[in-house]
Amino acid sequence: MERRSFIKGTFALATIGLLNPILFRHGLSAAEDAIEIPYKDALDEYLRGKKVEDGSKIMSLNIPDAPENGAVVPVEVTVDYPMKADDYISNITVLTTKNKANKAISFDLTPANGMAYLYVNVKMGQTQDVVILAQTNKGRIFQSSKNVRVALGGCG
C-alpha cells in the first residue's frame, strides 16, 4: 500500500506523478471496440436454458430508489441460504437492463465465505432495473430485481 508523506519544504510527490497511469489509458490500440450487451443476451448466457426461481423471499436487496448519482449506485444483496459444504450459493451476478453493456459483476463464492453477500457500485445511464441472480452449486437459480430512478446531476 502506497504511503505518501508531504513534508514541509520537501516534496515527496515524485512517486505519484501527475497522471495516474491507470486513469489515463496510454498506448491502447484504437481497435478496442465498444461491445453492446443487451440484457436479454446477458440473462440467457447466465441461465443457459435452466429455469429461474423467484428469489425475492430469500434475497434481500439494499438499493436506493433514487440515488444521488446514476454513475455510482450502491447495490447490496444478502441471500438467506446456507453455505454448507454440499449446498451453498456459488455465484452472485449483477446485471442491468437498459445500459449499452448490461453486465456489472459476477462473484464466485464457496463455503469459505461464510455467508452469501455482495456489495458493488453499479453504473446506470438512465432509470432501469438492477437484476441480481444467485446460483447454487447444484444449479438452482434465484432472481430478484429493483427499479432505480436516475436523475440529472450537476453541470457536467
Binding site: 508531504f6 514541509k8 440529472l152 446531476g153 457536467g156
Partner: protein, 451 residues
Amino acid sequence: MALSRRDAMKYTGLAAVTAASSGYAKGNEGAKAAAKGVLLSPAPIPAAKGPRVVIVGAGPSGLTIAKYVKKGNPNIDVVLMDKRSVFMSGFISNLVATGVLPLEFITHDFLEGARNGNYTFLQATAHEIDRTAKIVYTNEGTVKYDVLVLAPGIDYDYSKWTNGDAELETALKTKFPGAFIAGSETLTLKSKIENFEGGVFVQTVPGGNYRCLPGPYERSCLIADYMKRNKIKGKVVILDENPNITIKADGFHSAFDRLYKDYITYMPSTTITSIDPHKQKIVTELGEEIQFNDAALYSRVRGNKLLEIAGVAKDSVFNKGEANIDPFTYQVIGDLNVFCTGDVRPMGFSKSANTANTEGRIVAGNIVKYLAGTELSQKTWASPHTTCYSAVETNPLRAISVNAGYAYDATKKSFGFADASTMEKWDTKEGEDAGKGLLEWGKGLYRDFFN
C-alpha cells in the same frame, strides 16, 4: 403564534412601559421584555402600498427577483432582506483571492440595488417564519407578506467529516474555510495565498451537487499560477471525492498537464475519512495520509437551515435540506404563496450565479402573473441558463467556458441538459477572448443585480 398586528402593537407599548419603569431596577427582565417587543412589532419599513413580495436572501437569486418583480408590476411592494450589510460575490472571487483583481471588483452595495430597483432593502436576519399568518420574524421586527421568496443559499454540511463534532467543525470553518460562501472566508483565502511560503496546499472537491462545479479546479489553477509567477516551491493537492473532474474536464486536465505539471497533483475518488486541523493531516479511505501546510477544505453543501425553520426543507437526491417545491413553479408543495429559488432548488441544475439570475427573471415574471391570478404549472416553466467562465491562467487571462440550458424529459421523468456546449481550448485566441469575456460576464451580472 399568530398575533394580530394590533395585539403586537399593544404588546410593544406594554413592553416599552415595563422597560422604562423597571429596566434598570430589574436588570435583565426589562431588557428581555423590550427585546421581545422589538421582535413582535413591525420592522421599521414603509407600510405595504400594494400586494407585498418579501424576499429573504439578497444573493444573485434574491437580487434578481426583487428587481424584476418590481419591473414587472411597479404596484407590487417589494421587500428584500439579507443578514449581511455588504454584498460579496462568489463568482470572480478566485481571481481576487489570488491577487489578480481587487476586492472592490466583487464587493457591492445592497443600498445601490434598492435605490435603482425601487424596492425596500432591509438588513435583518430572519429567525422565524409563520406561513399561516404569513409573517417573517426578524431581529428588526416582523415583516408581513403576501408572497414569500426564500433564496437563502447554501449552508455547509460538515457531517461526513465531523459526525456532529462541533469543536472539529468550528476548527475546520475557522482555520481552513472552504471559501464558497463569500465574505470573511474570501478574505481568509486571500490572506493564506498572499502569505503562502511554500509546501502543500490542499483544495478539496466534495460530492453531491456542490455550489460552483468548476470553482475548486479554477482556484487550483490560479493558486498554481500564483506559485509559478512568484517562484514559490509549492504544490496544490486536489482531493476530489468525485471519480473525475466534474465539469469542463478536458480543459482543466489539459491545463493541469501543460501548465501546472509540477504544481498540481490531482487525486480523484478520494474520500476523506479523517481531518486533524491541528496536526494538519488528512487520511483517506484508501489509507493515504496527506500532510498539508495550508488548505481550503470545501465540504459538501446543504440547503440553508432557514428552510427547516420555515418548514419547507426536504432532502433531495443530491444534498440535505433543500427546498420542498414543485420543480416547475418553484412553489412550496402545499403552500402556493411561498417560492424557493436559487441554490436551494432540489433540481440538479448548476448552483451558480448566472443560473440563479436567469432563473430569477423567469420566476419573477411568474410571481407577477401569480399575483394577478394566474395559476402556475409546468406550462409556465422556462429553462434557466447556465453560462460560466473559469480562468486557468493569468497574464494573459485565459479561460474556458460552459453554456447549457435544461429540459424536462417526460418519459424519464427527470431534467436533463439541452443545448449544452463547452469551450475548453484555453490555449487559443478563443481562450484569451474567454478571459476577457469572463470579466464582462461578471460585470454584466453586477449590473443586473444593482443598476
